[in-house]
Homo-oligomer: 417 residues x 2
Amino acid sequence: MTSHVFATYIIETSLPLARAAEMLAGEQSTGTFVRVERESDDVRARFAAQVESIHELPLTGSSALPGSVGDPDLRRRARLRLRFPLGNFGPSLPNLMAAVAGNLFEMKELAAIRLIDLELPQEFADRYPGPGFGVAGTRALMNRPSGAMVGTIIKPSIGLSPEELAEVVGDLAAAGIDFIKDDELQANGPSAPLAARVAAVMPVLKRHADRTGKMPMYAFNITDDIGRLEANHDLVVAAGGTCVMACINLIGLAGLEFLRSHAAVPIHGHRAMLGAIARSDQVGIAFGAWQKIARLSGADHLHTNGISNKFYESDAEVLAAIEAVRTPLLGLTPTVPVLSSGQWGGLAHATYSAVGTTDLLVLSGGGIHGHPDGAAAGVASMRDAWASAERGEDASDAFAASEPLRRAAERFGPVRV
Amino acid sequence: MTSHVFATYIIETSLPLARAAEMLAGEQSTGTFVRVERESDDVRARFAAQVESIHELPLTGSSALPGSVGDPDLRRRARLRLRFPLGNFGPSLPNLMAAVAGNLFEMKELAAIRLIDLELPQEFADRYPGPGFGVAGTRALMNRPSGAMVGTIIKPSIGLSPEELAEVVGDLAAAGIDFIKDDELQANGPSAPLAARVAAVMPVLKRHADRTGKMPMYAFNITDDIGRLEANHDLVVAAGGTCVMACINLIGLAGLEFLRSHAAVPIHGHRAMLGAIARSDQVGIAFGAWQKIARLSGADHLHTNGISNKFYESDAEVLAAIEAVRTPLLGLTPTVPVLSSGQWGGLAHATYSAVGTTDLLVLSGGGIHGHPDGAAAGVASMRDAWASAERGEDASDAFAASEPLRRAAERFGPVRV
C-alpha cells in the first residue's frame, strides 16, 4: 500500500520549526522518548511520517496553550504539511484520526497545534460510500427540483406536546416549507419521545402530501446510544419519514458512519459540540478537515452556519465552510450545506453572491416562526428573496416586489447587500 | 421525571455575568433569538435550565476565544453552575451532551466557555452499567491481586512484523509484566492486521501461562469502524485474549458504550485526541467531566497520564485526573487509572505519596524496553519501586535495595521524591 495521507497543521513552537515538525511526525508514527530495540532504520524508513513542507506565518497574538514549554520570545508560527504512509493505519477513519489527530494535541513543545486540512487517497472512498442521497436525493424526496431549499426548526426547541407539535408541523406544511427539523435539544427524552413525535407528525405530513402532492422532509432527531440508532431510524422510515437527523459529534463520526451503513433516508448532520473542537485558533480540528470525515462518514446534509449568524463565526468563515462542503471529495455524492442561525430573507442576496448556488438548505427558525404575518409569509419571504438573488437581481428589487420580505425586514432587518 | 443534571462551566464574558449565565441556560434549553408562538411561560418554567450559582474568578490572562464580542475592558471570568431538567433529554448520554456541551461553545457572547464538571442523577447508572471489570476484574484476569499493576506498550509503536511482535511479547512475558498494550497508532492497518497480531501474540502468552500459571493481559487495539468492533472484539476473545483497547474519542464515547454492551473482557480506554477537546483553558470539556461519561460508557481502564510526563499536563493536573477517576460515581465498578508517558521506577514514590493507592495500571514504555539491562530488569525496577513506596519507605531506601532501580536511574533519572 503505497498511498499516503497528507495532513496540514498550524503550529506554534519555541523550538526551531524544522525540529518541532520532526517531533510531531515522529510522535505520530514511529517515535517514543527513547530509541528502542528493533526500531531499525528500515522501520523508520517505511513507517515514519515525513515533513513535506513548513511555511512560516506571522504570530496572531493568541495565548500559548497551557503547559507549553520554551522561551516565549522564540515562539514562531507555521503551517506544516506532513505525509503519513496509508499502510500505517489503512483506510479506516477512526485509525486515520489516531495518526493525524491523536496524541499530538498534548505535545508540550507546541504552543499551538491545530489540524486544518486532510488530503485523503481514493482508498477511503473505496471503503466508505459517503452520502447516500446528497443534493439530488434530497431535492427528489422533498420535490424541490431547483432553487434554495427552505427549511425551519421546530420552535420552541423543546417543551411542545406531540399534539402541539402536530399543529406546528401542519402550519409549516401549509406554509409551503420544504424541510423541518427537530432541535438538537429534542431527541428522545421522556417529555416528547421520538415515537410519539413520529406518530404525531407523519400523519400530518401525509395528509398534506395527499392534498398537494408534496411532502415536506422532516428530519427527526434520532441521536441516541449507538445501539438504538437502527431502531430509531427504522421507526422513522416505517412511518414514511424521509430524513433522520443525528448530532455527529454526540454519536461520534464513527457513529455517523455506522448509521450510514443502515440508512434508507438522508442523514441530516448536525454539528452540535463542534465549537469544543474547532473554535480555538490554538488547538483542535478546523471545520475544513472535520467536514471531510463527516462527508466520508455519510452526512447528506451538513451544518455550516450562515452569514450574520448569532454564533461566533465571521461571514468569511461561514462562506469558507460552505465552499469546503461544496468542494468535490473523492467522487462522493455532494453533501448539502445547511445554513442556519439568524437566517432570514434579507441575507439571501449577500449569501448567493458569495456562494453562487442554490444547492443549499437554508434554515430559518425565528425568521419563519416569528414573521409578523405568520409562517406562510415567512416562507414566502425566503422564497422571494432567494429566487430574486438567483435571477441576479439586487436585494432592492426583491424588496420592491415582495410584501412578505418587506414585512420580514421590519422585524429582522437590516438587509445585507 | 423530576431529577436534574448539574453542569459547571468556566466562562468569560463582557456581558454582566448574570446576563451571560441566563443566555447560556436559555440557548441550551428553551431559547431562540426571538420569542415564538407557543413558547409559553409554562414551557419556560418546566423546561428551562436554571442558573444555580455564579462565582466570579480572576482573569487568567489567556486570549479571548476567536469571534467573541463585547468590550474587552469589561471581561470577567466566572464559574457557573446550571441545572438542567433531566426530562429535557432523559438519561441518554449523547443527548445529555447536546444540552450540556452542544452549541454553547459557539456563543459569541462568551470569550471562554469550558465544561468542567457534571453531576448526574442515578438514572444514568440505571441505564448504563459502566465498567464490567474495573479494578477487581482486571486484577483477577492478570493474576495480580495486589500492588501496582505494571504494564508496557509495544515498542516500536508500529512497524513490527507479527513474528517480531511475538518475540517482543515473549520477552515481556518472561520479564514478568502484568499488562501489555498495542500503541494507539497500531490498530488494523495492512502492515500488521489485528488478526495477524492476535494469531502471533496469543500462543506466546498461552505458552507462558502454561509454564507459569500467569498470563499477562494484552490489550489489543481494536479501534475501527463501529460495525467492526464486535468482530474485532470476538476475534480477541476467541483466541483467549483478556482485554481489548479502544481509542475512546476515535470511536466516540457512544462507540465505547456500544462496545461495552458487547464486551466480555475489560475495555482499555485510550484517550488519544483528548487534547483537542481538553487542552485549551478557554474552550472545550475538561478531563474531570469527560471521564465521568467515559466511565458510564464502560471504560474499565482510563488513561490519566502520569507525573513528569512528556506531554503538557502538570503533575497537579495529572494527580487531579487520577483522583477524579478514583472518585466513586453512581455506584459504578471502579475504573483503573492508567498512568503512562515517561513513566519509570523513579516516579513511584512521588506518585504513591500523592494518590495513596496501588490500584493503578502504570505503563512504562521506553522505561522497560529501554532499561540498560533489558525488559526483565525494567519490570523489576518498577516492581521494586512501587513495593517500596507502598511499604512507606523513602525513595532512597528503594534505590539502596534495588540494583534494577539504580540502573534505571542511570538512564531515566532524576528520581522524584
